[in-house]
Amino acid sequence: MNEQTQSLEAIQDIRRLMNRSSRFLSLSGLSGIAAGGWALAGAWLAGRRIGSYYDDYERNGYSLAEFVRLKQHLLLMAAAVLALAMASAFFFTWRRARQQGLPMWDRTARQLSINMLIPLVSGGLLLLALLRYEDANLLGLIGPLCLIFYGLSLVNASKYTVNDIRYLGVLEIILGLINTQFLGYGLFFWAIGFGLLHIVYGFIMWWKNERTDTKG
């Protein structure tokens, strides 16, 4: 009888260490919800900014300076959303790691970051390169490409953390691909992909893994 519990404990130990050494398990669903909130706020602001650009366009006609300013403002907003989303993701994950008594920065966190950053940075650099052009169709591709590269980075990162984000990644990719056929609606798709999906997924992850957060 005692041997039985010992065997069970040994197997649980093996399982726990296999999991903990290969996947970063402190990723918090709340970070998804927060990122989604920032994204929706950003999309709303961007929508207003684009609206005011078109008002100006109607009244005064096309002006290159105005267009360049619009691009700069949108880029700044996107960067702000990214920074705020990352800061809150970092905060909620740090909090959860502390609750679980796990280190925030270890081998698995390192692997997760590297594998997430490879597609993300490639996509980011590609988008910055595209921003130099003025062709409306090329610029219209920025939204879909954001979604596609972000989706790819989630799929890639899912091997190193909770598996849930794999499906989120696939959804982002599909959304991005659909968006390529509706280029004028980039902001709308952006709000769904980065806002709505994040909130829904963050909530599911939180519900599944953290609601009754007792053990790691």
Partner: protein
């Protein structure tokens, strides 16, 4: 035909740290000394002793490398190590099932 479930149990894996090292190495290609230490929450000396005994039994391989000037020792599991661990897990399962 009745098999003794204890047969597959490996004496070396009675120790939690040694079993822990093997579990980690089973799912990771190469793990450094420091990462093992952090995952298992043990002291240097304690871990080193167990690593030596696992190495002497041919269950893991040691790779000595450098990162800049600092030594970076990493460990990986051998074929024999994989086999011993899976037999050990099977024996544990049998013990749990057999005694219901």
């Amino acid at each position: 035909m009745p098999k003794n479930p204890i047969a597959g149990l490996n004496k070396l894996f009675d120790n939690r740290i040694r079993l822990g090292v093997m579990s980690i190495l089973a799912v990771n290609e190469e793990v450094s000394f420091n990462d093992l230490k952090q995952l298992l929450e043990v002291t240097d000396g304690n871990l080193a002793t167990h690593l030596v005994s696992l190495e002497d039994n041919g269950l893991l391989k040691v790779h000595k490398g450098f990162i800049g000037r600092k030594t970076n020792t990493t460990y990986s599991i051998t074929k024999a190590g994989e086999k011993a661990l899976s037999e050990h897990i099977q024996a544990l399962e049998k013990m749990i099932r057999g005694m219901k």
